[in-house]
């Protein structure tokens, strides 16, 4: 059978590897050097070969119904597309991650047993930024709307007709065009020139020397200027994605925060980051995703106002992905690996203890001026090397405090105490599979009385997943550092801290992480500051740094956990959600407005130590 190894050796200029003469198209997405052409087609800047474009499109179909899988596969093949099917969302994500550029488009059913189709949609959008088409028997407007909200390119009703499938390539094409446009608009006019010339280069290279790989390389170099792409195969397309390693992302976030979120622009960021091989386009698109993620988090936090907690969903099995946010731009997807899952059931009990202690302690803290904890916790969950998204769900639940659970929302003058009732639940999944790091942060209820007053202010922790792929293979355990740091903030119960610490340590040890490292951006600094608060509250300054928690495992996906608003909800019970196959994201946002630039987010790096 003809395998799609359409090499440049053949003189056929094609965008996609495809063999128009042979219907037996291999199911496996081609990994050969042909993928690169893909982008050429889309760039559309000059392509007499566009007519060949749709053929050979690499489609991934996800549906739990085997009947439909079969039918769709057949239909797609008839369209001369390259089809891969799978019936599990997790498997799909794995496939996608394994091969970042292995697919052009994903078609997924809405109702699936292991994962919600919308979640998958988000993940794909964030991690891989591929167009996703949803399908369902159910064509109700609300569902369709939900699909679109989550970033679906299209929503097809079952039964699906051939003609509907024939045109799916338009989404792929459109996306490419838009990416170019976005970059251009973000970076201003000058970038257009750059981009254009870049494209021209490609086109020329491709057209003129269509049959040797050097053109591909030329293209790659011209476009990416990345020679150190760890991910891509040598034939990656010109749009080969930059690998946003933890470090890189950290730099990015730092730069963003330095500039000020509102004033940020790709050029400034790029300059600050001082990464020679990084292009403005890379930064621009990354920034865009980052923004979308933030806005998504904001929405989520609005929804989950009552809890200041991030549920860190653990990744159950290999492919669990937790997606959050309607915008696929930002996706935190935890890849879970069955091996490395450690759920913190223990944390629950600990949390309980913590609560009790917290309660006692909180009262004492009432008067302590607490700085608004402004920190962004970035938790990166690294999936398989390609994982771009980290999933962190923090469970912040305010344990029931006798006086009432409240998160002190703080304003500039109000002491802010950041209660953590629950110990972050960290789950690591070892990577051969994506490593999932799940943190559940529970916030201890702030001392009721004083904090409740601050109810007006909303505090929410915002988790911003950063689309960084961390190459580094180390994940620091969030627990020890983060927890430690954070806890002092909230409650001053030493025992609590110890407890947390213990929990974390326990978690740590239980984590099977390979090369998991936690990076703390301002680790020591933060710790210092925390301690300064005499164990009470976190001085505002403290939190104002970027704490990035990165879970690196192969790829890491740093998440920014921004503490922006603190809410003073009333809780009855701390809810530590131990996650199951699905990750839930509860993102709370903290408003920094009083003390910080409201849009600033700090990332806390978490890493797991192997």
């Amino acid at each position: 059978p003809f395998h799609f190894s359409f090499s440049y050796a053949s003189n056929l200029p094609v965008f996609y590897p495809f063999n128009p003469y042979n219907k037996n198209i291999s199911k496996k997405p081609t990994t050969s050097p042909k993928k690169k052409n893909m982008v050429l087609a889309e760039s559309g800047f000059s392509s007499p070969r566009n007519d060949a474009f749709p053929a050979g499109l690499r489609v991934l179909v996800v549906d739990d119904d085997p009947t439909w899988l079969k039918i769709l596969e057949k239909m797609l093949k008839k369209c001369s597309y390259e089809v891969t099917t799978c019936c599990l969302a997790r498997e799909a994500l794995n496939l996608l991650r394994e091969r970042k550029d292995g697919y052009d488009i994903v078609i997924s059913d809405v109702n699936m047993p292991d994962m919600d189709g919308f979640k998958l949609l988000e993940h794909v959008g964030l991690e891989m930024d591929l167009p996703v088409i949803m399908m369902s028997v159910d064509g109700e407007t609300s569902r369709v709307m939900k699909g679109v909200q989550h970033g679906a390119c299209d929503y097809l009703l079952k039964p699906i007709r051939m003609k509907e499938l024939r045109n799916i390539w338009q989404h792929v094409f459109r996306k490419k065009i838009h990416e170019v446009r976005d970059i251009e608009s973000l970076e201003g006019f000058e970038s257009i020139q750059m981009t254009r010339s870049g494209y021209d280069l490609f086109d020329d290279g491709h057209f003129l020397s269509g049959d040797d790989t050097t053109s591909g390389r030329k293209r790659k170099d011209a476009d990416n200027k990345h020679d150190d792409r760890e991910l891509s195969d040598p034939s990656s397309t010109k749009k080969a994605r930059v690998v946003w390693t933890v470090d890189l992302h950290q730099k990015f976030v730092k730069a963003v925060n330095l500039i000020g979120f509102d004033k940020v622009g790709p050029k400034k960021i790029l300059d600050l980051m001082n990464v020679p091989w990084l292009t403005r386009e890379n930064v621009a698109s990354h920034l865009q995703k980052y923004r979308l993620y933030l806005s998504r988090l904001q929405k989520e936090s609005d929804i989950k106002n009552s809890f200041i907690g991030m549920k860190h969903s653990d990744l159950p099995s290999k492919d669990s992905t937790a997606s959050f946010g309607p915008n696929k731009a930002m996706n935190m997807i935890p890849d879970d690996v069955p091996n490395g899952t450690y759920s913190f059931s223990a944390s629950n009990s600990l949390a309980q203890n913590v609560d009790l202690k917290g309660q006692g302690d909180l009262k004492g803290i009432t008067s302590a001026p607490v700085a608004e904890p402004k920190g962004a916790l970035s938790i990166d969950i690294h999936d398989s090397h390609e994982a771009k998204s980290t999933q962190m769900s923090f469970d912040h639940s305010l344990g029931s405090v006798d006086s009432a659970v409240s998160f002190a929302s703080f304003n500039s003058t109000t002491p802010l105490q950041y209660p953590w009732t629950e110990i972050p639940e960290i789950q690591f999944k070892q990577e051969c599979e994506p490593l999932h790091l799940e943190n559940g942060f529970s916030q201890l209820p702030l001392p009721g009385p004083s904090m409740i007053e601050n109810e007006a202010n909303r505090s929410r922790i915002e988790v911003k997943p950063l689309l960084d792929e961390c190459r580094s293979n180390f994940v620091e355990h969030l627990g020890p550092v983060g927890a430690e740091d954070l806890f002092p903030i909230q409650s001053k119960s030493q025992s609590l801290n110890n407890q947390v610490f213990d929990l974390i340590s326990a978690t740590k040890s239980s984590m099977k992480t390979q090369d998991v490292g936690l990076n703390y951006l301002a680790d020591s600094e933060f710790a210092l500051r925390n301690l300064n608060a005499s164990g009470v509250g976190v001085p505002l300054a403290t939190l104002s740094e970027d704490l990035q928690i990165c879970w690196l495992q192969g790829d890491c996906y740093p998440m920014n956990y921004g503490l922006q608003d603190l809410e003073c909800p009333t809780y009855d019970n701390p809810a530590l959600m131990a996650e199951t196959p699905f990750h839930l994201y509860d993102v709370l946002r903290f408003d920094h407005e009083h003390l910080f630039d409201p849009t600033e987010n700090y990332a806390i790096d978490q890493g797991l130590f192997a």
Binding site: T67, W68, K74, M75, D109, N111, S136, V137, P159
Partner: protein
């Protein structure tokens, strides 16, 4: 050959009647179109997959409905939804319609329905 022709005609007639009666809809025709030389048994395969899947789903539903303690309508509903999807895949229109009705019963928690 004659026998073959005859069978073919029978098949066509039968199909037509099924269509008329609303058992099958256009989707089935689509499936037939998909069949080609590369996969001569395509329709058969699809149909068998469908039946297998169906059987499972119906079993699930039956079990769920037989529960003494209280029928878990959510589960039944989920199964019905799946069945609806499957049946639409091969064009089993009537089954799909029945599913729709079924689902409203589920919502109403109407066991008798």
């Amino acid at each position: 050959m004659d026998v073959v022709n005859q069978l073919q005609r029978q098949f066509i007639d039968y199909s037509a009647s099924l269509h008329r009666e609303g058992f099958l809809d256009d989707q089935f025709t689509q499936l037939q179109k998909l069949q080609d030389d590369n996969s001569p048994d395509f329709v058969v395969e699809v149909a068998s997959l469908f039946f297998e899947d169906c059987e499972k789903l119906i079993n699930n539903m039956a079990r769920a409905l037989e529960q003494q303690q209280g029928v878990d309508f959510k589960q039944v509903d989920a199964s019905v939804h799946q069945l609806k999807g499957s049946s639409s895949s091969i064009g089993a229109m009537r089954v799909k319609d029945v599913c729709i009705a079924f689902r409203s019963f589920c919502e109403a928690q109407n066991r008798e329905g």
